[in-house]
């Protein structure tokens, strides 16, 4: 087991660093710690926020101080009330059309066929590790090293709505953009597009796919995309749960 590292994160925050690879195992250690922390009701704790390999804790300086809280956290790490992270695992099917603007370039850079990239993208299921960035983007880590390709040297403008991409081993479920937003500038490689909407500001929680959910991509064609997009906008589309 890796030692936890506690760091000052401003005058009202603590970042706990969990060693180890980014992925399901570290995810579960952080989540378990977070659940135990929330059950402990330490005074002054305001909000917690699990990351890829960190847990961010914000506190009220009027309710506690750094040293007190770190002491309590270390005690908690030694004697956790619960030692097992239990969550029902759900896997959702994310419809995708593989006609992203960067697919030919990625194929060229990796010197493989575009079809192999899509097959390998379809070939695994992914654990959502966190929702963050600007508005609930659902991030995961690839096991397949193919997707370790570093970011573009210069971020580029992408007009594709619902673009699904990756960079440096990280992917995101993808989402069409909020109405009124057109395109984005990003260093990621976009290989496909999905008709779903991940950001649901009128709902609580405001995201469709949450950290802890699994996803698997399902190939659809451009007509399916349009049909599903309409259903999503009418509010009649339900994500399919994966069969396996």
């Amino acid at each position: 087991m890796n030692e936890l590292d506690y760091k000052i994160a401003g005058d009202r925050g603590i970042l706990i660093y969990f060693g180890g690879e980014i992925g399901p195992e570290t995810f579960q250690r952080i989540r378990l710690f977070n659940e135990n922390l929330l059950k402990s009701n330490f005074p002054g704790v305001k909000e917690t926020f699990p990351g890829y390999r960190t847990l961010f804790i914000s506190y009220e300086p009027s309710g506690t101080d750094y040293d007190t809280l770190v002491y309590q956290l270390k005690q908690l790490a030694q004697n956790p009330p619960s030692r097992e992270y239990q969550k029902e695992e759900v896997c959702f099917e994310i419809p995708i059309v593989y006609d992203g603007p960067d697919l030919p370039m990625v194929a060229k850079l990796l010197n493989i066929l575009a079809e192999e990239i899509t097959q390998r993208h379809l070939g695994d299921k992914y654990l959502i590790l966190l929702t963050g960035g600007a508005g609930g983007i659902a991030y995961f880590k690839f096991r397949d090293k193919l997707f370790d390709l570093p970011r573009k040297k210069t971020p580029a403008f992408i007009a594709t709505d619902g673009a699904v991409g990756f960079a440096a081993g990280i992917g995101s479920a993808g989402s069409r953009q909020p109405q009124g937003m057109k395109g984005k500038t990003s260093g990621w490689w976009f290989i496909g597009r999905t008709p779903i909407r991940q950001w649901l500001p009128d709902r609580d929680p405001p995201v469709l796919i949450k950290a802890g959910d699994w996803i698997r991509y399902k190939r659809v064609d451009a007509d399916d995309f349009d049909r599903i997009a309409q259903e999503v906008d009418r509010g009649t589309y339900e994500l399919h749960v994966c069969k396996t």
Binding site: A9, G10, R12, T48, G51, Y52, A134, D204
Partner: protein, 311 residues
């Protein structure tokens, strides 16, 4: 009702922020100068977290459709009612049909309007502050804002805020910081430079963050960290070595090393910083930061006692 006649440079409804949703990627938002909004609310008898209007730079023009008790605090943007200058940091009545304008910037960058009863805007995820990407964030001509009636309002003394509670807004800002969590990503020379230089606020600065111009800070290794939590006040340094101060609308995660964070007691000062202002950083300990925070909170309690009487 408040009718917006002109939105100005950027004006928006803000309260004291949105907590509990960062784990979904939702920024805290809220007033950039929380002290100013909280005091404005106290002056009109509102709970401190009631929604008010944040006016950036100026240009806002609005009309009241009924009598309303208001207070204006924060930066001096030359507030006028029916073209007559009005005092700031005091509660005063706006009569039905009166027009409030903010003509030009005299000091600071953001003014706050509190209205007795609070602004009853769209309440999303436990806050009246608009979501970063919502289309209706900026007030525009034709917008109508309801004045709340439900919030517990108190009787207040209509008197100006004593001078010692009015912050001074200088163009040169000295802000205090605690180092970390990635100060070890920088050379010791870079830390010296950071703490002993003057930086200038660039034009590309907004509620998400302030970009600074000044001496470059050298990293000891690469400028990438695994994406992790960000918070208002965090000072991140990307590969080009120029610091960016994250503020109220900051993204919840980011992958640049954070050399330090502005302490809570000094964040309001940043809310009053405008492009071309000078910023310098002074290092304090976590203990000092906490004391300064508690002193500031105590001052707000004193203001409450003055205006609301014994509680």
């Amino acid at each position: 009702m408040i009718e917006i006649l002109q939105g100005g440079f950027f004006s928006a409804v803000q309260d004291n922020g949105r907590y509990g949703y960062r784990k979904y990627g939702v920024p805290i938002c809220g007033a950039m100068d929380l002290y100013a909004l909280r005091v404005a609310n106290i002056l009109v008898g509102n709970p401190e977290g009631a929604a008010g209007i944040e006016v950036t730079l100026g240009g806002l023009k609005l009309r009241c459709t009924k009598d309303a008790l208001i207070a204006i605090t924060g930066g001096d943007l030359s507030p006028r009612i029916n073209n007559e200058s009005i005092p700031m940091w005091t509660a005063l009545w706006m009569r039905k049909g009166d027009i409030l304008t903010f003509i030009c910037l005299r000091s600071g960058f953001r003014a706050y309007i509190a209205v007795k009863g609070g602004i009853d805007a769209r309440f999303v995820m436990n806050s009246y502050s608009p979501l970063l990407r919502s289309k209706d964030a900026a007030l525009k001509p034709g917008d109508k804002l309801k004045i709340g009636e439900k919030s517990a309002v108190r009787m207040v003394k209509l008197q100006p805020l004593p001078d010692q509670y009015v912050p001074d807004c200088k163009d040169k800002k000295e802000v205090r910081v605690v180092l970390g969590p990635q100060d070890d990503y920088f050379t010791s020379e870079a830390l010296e430079v950071f703490l002993n230089s003057e930086y200038i606020v660039k034009a590309q600065s907004d509620r998400q963050g302030y970009r600074l111009e000044g001496p470059v800070l050298k990293h000891t290794r690469n400028a990438d960290v695994v994406s992790e939590a960000c918070w208002p006040g965090a000072i991140q340094v990307p590969g080009d070595g120029l610091p960016i101060i994250l503020l109220a609308d900051a993204m919840t995660t980011g992958g640049y090393p954070k050399i330090a964070s502005i302490i809570s007691a000094d964040l309001d000062k940043m809310g009053q910083a405008k492009p071309a202002d000078k910023i310098s950083f002074e290092r304090v300990s976590l203990g000092e930061a906490r004391s300064l925070f508690l002193v500031k909170e105590e001052r707000i309690k004193e203001i409450r006692r003055i205006f609301w009487g014994a509680q």
